[in-house]
């Protein structure tokens, strides 16, 4: 224990505590001048481990200026950690100044912090970028000793992580003494994370320290007397049992995967909540005040259950949670471990968690997740190579701070882990983009944002450029949202435009514009825990009225944000493929699989089962790749194109996390039998070549992705309160920009960035590629005379999908035919 100063030692002693081994290990590593990756479960004293080296250093070595910079993904977490740090610092009687800096910090204090910084500053990646863009950043960070990165695992898989990596590389340049301490939950590949923090401070090594895990969690799957449904995502069958479970526990967190699922579950719990147990709702669409109210009620212990989405996945303790329930598909093992960890933040007691499958496939998925969580298996995402749009933003930020030398900047940037393999040629194109738009047609020299000085440095053209940069900093681009306002219903009259809409009701929250876009007046949907009817859009608000209908007309499930992880998918395939594994399954699920075995076959672990069968007047092809909804959707798009070319007349498709169903006007079984259609050719990997290109050309997904890249890279400006364009205009104009750019310069750096993002995000092409490779020449075709038991769930999803692409054109055709029919009196 001699490592600690007497002051710190005394403080621990007075508390009756002792420093934990991993806290001392972090201290020792930091003193040796190393960076540290500390992997620790919640409740392991991570905060103190992260700051103990700073406290020790500040006790022993008097310091001038900012000593430690702490960066958290959440504003609230930064504030909370600052508060938690105050107690030991005050308890030790130290004069260490700790401050936070977030978007909520008053401008005067933010200004002062730049000239008179505290010893320890708590902030976010965006605020760091802002600080770095000021000419005085060299002075502010020149004497920085330590950077503490919290919840790093959550940051590194996103563009925020790219921005942070570039920021840390900048800090390492400004202060060569700096070392990094990163705090992370358990991840699949800790060495990648370690490299991530070591890269910018090279050759200083980073050491990996693992805090001991807590007690093993107690896990279960809800066993139901009722029938687990074939399809659907609401878990309605389990609601009475869930209410009983809530009654039997102090505080329960019920996690679901989407906001609409949260709405549905909340509504159905309240429908039978005769004891009026305080059950609350928490998701990203609710207004901030509403969410804060729920959070403080939890802290005060006034709430028995909260139905929530990923908004409560991480961050500060909201009180004593006795049980975590996952309703619906778990999607990934690491995600589940994190959610399970939300129960019981005391290390020595086991967390208690329960899985509630919403349909039969999810029973298999829950079973696979249970095994994975029990074994502590991880399937967290791997950080990816850095986004070029983020790089463009950062380059402009660097130029705002000081005229930029291209060679030096490139050397610095490639020290950031996500950009370690960045080719010089790409960097030069990004620089050109920032300066004049990067177009082959050099039309904008006179409007350049960066100009070259006689010394060959890149300097911002004027002060307005820096101003614009600061307004647009950050990588979080919100979906265009509309406020949802509750108004009185209009009288029921013919025609959509008659009758005034009542005004001035209360705001229920915000909703994605794309959802509202597909609604027609009178459509009912669930929002803020009630069923509402859509009345119309007035400027940037969606007006809704209270509806008394029993069930909403617009299907609530809009697809989960997270696709099924490869790891869990493999678990599901493993359970399916081996009858020995079925013993753990509920009887009804086992019977379902036995029925499938009798009627068709079960999907193998490495092969792909393809079933074809007629139904009504159409012919169906159902396959079971288990690669997640996004990859299946892409596969569906590409297969329909190929079937079209093969004259099989495809009419549509639907994708779930497990399966893909395509329907055609021609007899697929017969075509495969006679050799007119080859499944091996149909599923050949080469579809990811030309077919993919051709499809991307028409894809609305490219436009949605482009909008994000255009905003992050600074091509178009972000919305700002007060002088904002409405999201409606912004979306439209970015679509137009995309059309023009894609037509004339498809090789432009932003199109390249968009293509990359679309391939990884919305299309999941990498995963599809791996799957297609795996199943090559392992396709098992099963022609059937009717639908198989395994095909039922995906077939039940038909008709619930929102439309895009070709289907939009079909709407026009139908509308026109409808008019013709009317005109000819049919």
């Amino acid at each position: 224990m001699s490592q600690l100063s007497p002051i710190v030692e005394d403080w621990f002693a007075a508390k009756g505590w002792a420093a934990r081994a991993h806290q001392l290990d972090v201290l020792a590593a930091d003193r040796a001048g190393n960076s540290v990756l500390l992997i620790a479960p919640t409740g392991a004293g991570k905060t103190l481990a992260g700051f103990l080296p700073s406290i020790e250093d500040l006790i022993v070595n008097p310091h001038d200026g900012l000593h430690t910079l702490y960066i958290s993904p959440l504003k609230a977490l930064a504030v909370d950690v600052a508060r938690n740090l105050d107690a030991p610092i005050a308890g030790m009687g130290l004069k260490i100044k700790v401050e936070t800096r977030t978007g909520d910090t008053p401008a005067s204090r933010r200004q002062r912090q730049r000239f008179d910084p505290p010893d320890i500053l708590m902030t976010t990646p965006e605020q760091l970028a802002l600080l770095l863009s000021h000419p005085d950043s060299a002075r502010l960070f020149g004497n920085l000793k330590r950077v503490v990165l919290d919840e790093l695992h959550a940051l590194v898989t996103s563009k925020r992580g790219d921005l942070l990596a570039l920021g840390v590389a900048r800090l390492a340049k400004l202060s060569p003494d700096v070392r990094v301490t990163a705090l992370s939950a358990t991840v699949a590949e800790p060495d990648i994370l370690r490299d991530w923090i070591a890269a910018p401070v090279f050759p200083r090594p980073a050491v990996l320290i693992n805090a001991p895990g807590g007690a093993a969690p107690e896990l279960s799957i809800l066993e139901s007397e009722d029938r687990v449904p074939w399809a659907g995502h609401s878990a309605a069958y389990a609601v009475p049992q869930l209410l009983e479970t809530i009654k039997a526990h102090g505080t329960t967190l019920l996690f679901v995967n989407t906001r609409s699922q949260a709405e549905v579950l909340f509504q159905s719990l309240w429908a039978i909540n005769d004891d009026a147990l305080p059950i609350a709702l928490h998701h990203g669409s609710l207004s901030v005040e509403q969410r804060r109210k729920v959070e403080s009620a939890m802290v005060a212990g006034n709430i028995r259950a909260v139905v929530c989405t990923s908004t409560l996945d991480m961050g500060i303790d909201w009180g004593d949670v006795d049980l975590v329930v996952q309703v619906g598909a778990p999607k990934g093992a690491s995600r589940m471990l994190q959610r399970v960890g939300r129960a019981n933040h005391r290390m020595d007691e086991p967390s208690k968690a329960m899985f509630v499958p919403a349909n039969r496939f999810e029973v298999l998925e829950c079973e696979a997740a249970l095994e994975a969580v029990a074994a502590g298996a991880q399937d967290s995402e791997r950080p990816l190579s850095g986004g070029l749009d983020v790089l463009a933003q950062h380059v402009l930020g660097m130029a705002c701070a000081a005229p930029l030398d291209a060679n030096a900047a490139f050397a610095e940037i490639t020290r950031a882990w996500p950009y370690r393999d960045l080719p010089r040629e790409k960097f030069d194109r990004v620089l050109d983009f920032v300066a004049t738009g990067g177009y082959a047609l050099k039309a904008y020299e006179r409007f350049a944002k960066l100009r070259k000085t006689p010394e060959g440095l890149w300097r911002i053209a004027n002060g307005k450029v820096a101003q614009q940069y600061r307004l647009n900093v950050g990588t979080i681009v919100e979906e265009p949202m509309l406020k949802v306002r509750l108004v009185r219903a209009r009288g029921v009259r013919k025609g959509a435009t008659t009758g005034p809409i009542g005004r001035g009701g209360r705001v229920l929250g915000e909703i994605e514009e794309y959802f509202i876009d597909q609604l027609v007046r009178g459509d009912t949907f669930m929002f803020g825990g009630e069923i509402v009817a859509f009345e119309g859009v007035v400027e940037t608000e969606a007006y809704v009225s209270r509806s008394y209908s029993e069930s909403p007309r617009i299907p609530a499930y809009m697809g989960g944000k997270f696709p099924l992880s490869t790891f869990l998918a493999d678990g599901v395939r493993r359970i399916l493929a081996d009858r020995d594994n079925w013993r753990v399954l509920p009887d009804q699920v086992r019977e379902w699989l036995e029925l499938q075995e009798a009627a068709s076959v079960l999907p193998g672990r490495e092969s792909l089962l393809v079933e074809t069968f007629p139904r009504a007047d159409k012919h169906y092809l159902v396959c079971y790749p288990f690669e997640g909804r996004l990859a299946h959707q892409t596969l569906g798009m590409l297969l329909t194109r190929r079937l079209e070319r093969a004259r099989a007349q495809p009419l549509g498709f639907v994708a779930t996390d497990y399966a893909l169903a395509i329907w055609c006007a021609t007899d697929l079984s017969a075509q495969i039998r006679t050799g007119r259609l080859s499944l091996d050719q149909l599923f050949d990997e080469d579809m990811l070549g030309d077919d993919l290109e051709a499809w991307l050309d028409e894809s609305a997904l490219m436009k949605r992705t482009f909008r994000n890249c255009a905003i992050i890279s600074g091509l178009i400006e972000r919305r700002h309160p007060g002088k904002e364009k409405s999201g409606r205009q912004l979306t439209m104009s970015s679509d137009i920009i995309f059309d023009v750019l894609y037509r004339h310069e498809p090789g432009h750096i932003l199109i390249e960035a968009t293509r990359r993002d679309a391939a990884r995000g919305l299309l999941d092409i990498e995963r599809l590629g791996v799957a297609l490779k795996r199943i090559r020449r392992h396709i098992q075709h099963k022609p059937l005379d009717r639908i198989s038991p395994l095909a039922v769930p995906v077939m039940l999803d038909i008709g619930k999908e929102p439309i895009f692409g070709e289907a939009r054109e079909a709407v026009l055709r139908e509308a026109a035919e409808d008019l013709i029919a009317e005109a000819v009196g049919r």
Partner: protein
């Protein structure tokens, strides 16, 4: 129209306005065969470059795209005259600050066929790109001008960038459109960089006689006539 025969494609895609037959094109232009004249509204040339002035360096290709489209439509219809219904330039100075390549291209067009530039709210000034600059023009009893006017008889205009959102079986899609009644015909915006406005929005209030309103929307490869009962806001 008798209910005995189904509408032919031609009948569906012809606009009859004040006794004249017009052929709308899927690009958003309107061809008037009797006068061998092509009408286009709201080209908004140089729109992207005007953003560049304020620091948003948008792709400088929209002007070329619009001109390309226009050249194609002229070739396709064999028009001998073009009437641009105003807002041909996004900024009034646009005609002066055109890059050389585009200036040459426009002058070649205006040097080859008859050309009328009607003044718009974005480009009220007279310029020297060839052809005639004026505020409005009468052709066979129709008044061609930039902005529609309330209560006028036989006006063909642009300005509003009309679009329709069509709902069908709980789904909907939004497209630029031609919209007209017995007194007023409004063309969709033709420029590659133009947005659009729903014809059910307030900007169109009172302009049309709803009972006689007709709408033709632009599909990917053809135009579609749609019934009013299918139109929704948004």
């Amino acid at each position: 129209m008798s209910s005995a025969h189904p509408l032919t494609d031609n009948e569906i895609t012809t606009i009859n306005f004040r006794g004249h037959a017009f052929a709308p094109l899927v690009s958003g232009a309107l061809y008037w065969p009797a006068h061998e004249t092509l009408l286009v509204a709201d080209l908004h040339l140089e729109k992207m470059s005007s953003f560049a002035r304020s620091g948003q360096l948008l792709p400088p290709y929209d002007t070329a795209m619009t001109l390309e489209r226009l050249e194609r439509d002229i070739a396709l219809t064999g028009a001998r005259k073009v009437i641009a219904l105003g807002d041909s330039f996004h900024r009034d100075e646009g005609a002066d600050t055109l890059p050389d390549a585009e200036r040459v291209r426009i002058c070649r067009l205006t040097g080859t066929i008859d050309w009328v530039w009607l003044a718009g709210n974005h480009d009220p000034s007279v310029h020297r790109l060839g052809g005639l600059c004026t505020s409005e023009i009468s052709v066979s009893g129709c008044v061609l001008r930039h902005e529609p006017v309330l209560g006028a008889q036989g006006v063909i205009a642009g300005h509003l960038h009309p679009a329709a959102r069509i709902a069908m079986n709980g789904k909907s899609t939004r497209r630029p459109c031609f919209v007209w009644d017995e007194n007023l015909l409004i063309l969709p915006a033709y420029g590659a960089s133009t947005g659009s406005l729903n014809i059910l929005s307030e900007a169109f209030g009172g302009l049309f006689n709803r009972a006689r309103l007709q709408v033709m929307v632009m599909g990917r490869d053809r135009l579609y006539r749609v019934g009013l009962n299918r139109l929704v806001r948004g």
